[in-house]
Subunit: 362 residues, 2 copies
């Protein structure tokens, strides 16, 4: 969707879990802080479903601050005065890394001829990027939500490459309910006449379908109590109900704004591919049903953080992961933080979060 | 949408909360059991958002048994050997009562020129139906979900007309989160190019948008644990993932089936109007912010039932209602039942439910 200064083409085709290969592969990334001469101070951050590489710098499309600006920077819990932070757009994404909007073999955008990728494929792409940057081992691998899944895949698939793994608001598998919500989003996109089987880059984009997908997902990122506190049943810019279908309630207006704003920075096909990757993720399944086996010989220390009002990736899912890490003999610490923000707790000013991250990153 | 044998045209226009009047008003209803000569044995059942009057008889479109067949019938907890059960399609609905698909003043379907109705308007329509049937007072008013809201509105707006009020899986107000989910459904319908501003009865209907709306809503009717137990991450009619966008998982296939099946029996505009009515419902707001005042002089006994895995209308919302009934001095019993079915618990074989209903109805 745009040319980015920090992008690198991988020297080799990227093998995918489906059996296909992706080539060429561009990895768009951002770097914050200087890499030490011995290359020992790299931290890799994996982004979530609708995130991107702009962790701590202005987003080129929205002009907003980076999505983890409050956590990453000089003197911040992930201190860029000490560490070199790398964050890359995932393959399948739409912020410069190779995805369905990229030109395929015929010189036209891939659309749905782009291969279905997995969370492991995403992690592999980023491992290859680290190879290309000469970073054999990272001081820490960090991610929230889908980023946490990538961090787990990175630790599992590349033993010894991460000294520390920090997983926030995530899980070792996607639940049935979460698959269901994703499927609603996909069906909404595919129901939009403009989607056109994924071949829409020359014309109108399926913005209406993508906006509805985002609206449905957005509800799952918040908590019921948070929504009640933030909006309750308050009316939007009116004193009485309209007895019509305008956005009478603030929560309606807010959701519509979230939906329409999202379409300006995200590609509908990427939304299909990335939700699919998350839904396919089940680290135990990929190890004969025993999650602990995914972490045999990982060599990393783990920290798992859940948020009490997160009903998308619950504390129970984090505890399930922690038990498996214990069974694998991996050093692991676990904390459930209390926050009103639901799943978004890992992105926001949740009490205690900064201290946990600072303490674990060291 | 169809002619029904049991339908009655109200003798007078129906005044609406918006200030508009609806005329003529057809009320389509079903009756189960004989009305006693003294007309003292009537029970009115109010249906939920996507329900209808076919409580205990075959649905004319789907051919399926009535939606509460297990609860209503000869010898069943609501015993039609003793009681005369009346259930009417709500105004705004699409099973025979006047709604957006009905012909408006110009002889064409109303579409979005149909007036926005409220839960109180629905209850008022049914009260007028009872008037027309010569039923001054009912032995019991019963409803689950939106049906419970109507039962509360009936008790509040027509003091003395109900001896007993049974409210299941419901609330005295619609929460911000529930408004948000409804708004996703409405936006999905309105995003469908076939919706055409509500004017689609001559052509293709907005089935794709309505199906997505139903899929999103359906998730909220179930519990996370129930979805995991029923589907988990099991694949649908395949041994391995397709690495495509087919319904790989059973839960996806199930949701798609729910979505497409729904479009065969429900009108998209009715979905807009009925969700709007629910979102507008806040019984306290309509009584100066004090819920107890809604029940001053009601004269009825109440029974409130919640379901522990229902996250759409939670036990906390039921308790909020019960406290208000206590404050109003109304006799009220409350029970939280344990069920794996989430919000759908009131429709399904929840342990203890039959006994509670039978005991309260008497």
């Amino acid at each position: 969707m745009q040319d980015l200064a920090n992008a690198l083409t991988l020297p080799d085709p990227l093998p995918l879990d489906s059996g296909a290969q992706l080539s060429p592969v561009t990895m768009a990334y951002q770097q914050y802080g200087a890499l030490a001469e011995d290359r020992s101070n790299a931290i890799v951050i994996f982004h979530a479903l609708t995130g991107d590489q702009y962790v701590a710098s202005e987003h080129p499309v929205t002009g907003k601050p980076g999505w983890w600006d409050r956590m990453v920077g000089a003197g911040k819990p992930v201190d860029t005065d000490r560490f070199c932070v790398i964050c890359a757009n995932v393959i399948g994404g739409c912020m410069g890394s190779t995805g369905p909007a990229s030109d395929g073999p015929g010189g036209k955008p891939y659309g749905t001829s782009f291969p279905v990728v997995t969370v492991h494929d995403m992690a592999r792409g980023i491992a290859r990027l680290l190879d290309a940057l000469g970073i054999a081992k990272v001081h820490a691998a960090i991610g929230g939500s889908m980023g946490g899944m990538q961090a787990l895949a990175f630790a599992s698939d590349f033993p010894g490459r991460a000294e520390r793994v920090l997983v926030l608001a995530s899980a070792a598998r996607q639940s049935a309910q979460n698959i269901a919500f994703h499927e609603v989003g996909r069906q909404s996109i595919m129901a939009d006449a403009n989607w056109n089987g994924g071949d829409y880059y020359d014309g109108a984009h399926p913005d209406a379908g993508l906006a509805v997908a985002r609206m449905a997902a957005h509800i799952t990122y918040l908590s019921e109590a948070g929504l009640t506190e933030k909006f309750g049943r308050r009316l939007h810019e009116r004193d009485t109900k309209s007895f019509g279908f305008e956005a009478d309630f603030q929560v309606e207006s807010y959701l519509r704004y979230q939906g329409s704003g999202f379409t300006q920075r995200f590609d509908a096909n990427s939304y299909l591919y990335i939700t699919r990757a998350i839904d396919y993720f089940d680290l135990a399944e990929e190890h004969g049903g025993r999650l602990a086996d995914a972490f045999a010989g990982t060599g990393a220390r783990f920290c798992v953080v859940s948020f009490d009002t997160d009903w998308l990736y619950t504390t129970a899912e984090s505890q399930h992961l922690v038990r498996a890490l214990n069974a694998a003999g991996a050093p692991v610490s676990f904390v459930e933080l209390s926050s009103p923000y639901g799943h978004d707790g890992f992105l926001l000013d949740t009490p205690g979060l900064d201290e946990v991250v600072r303490g674990f990153v060291g």
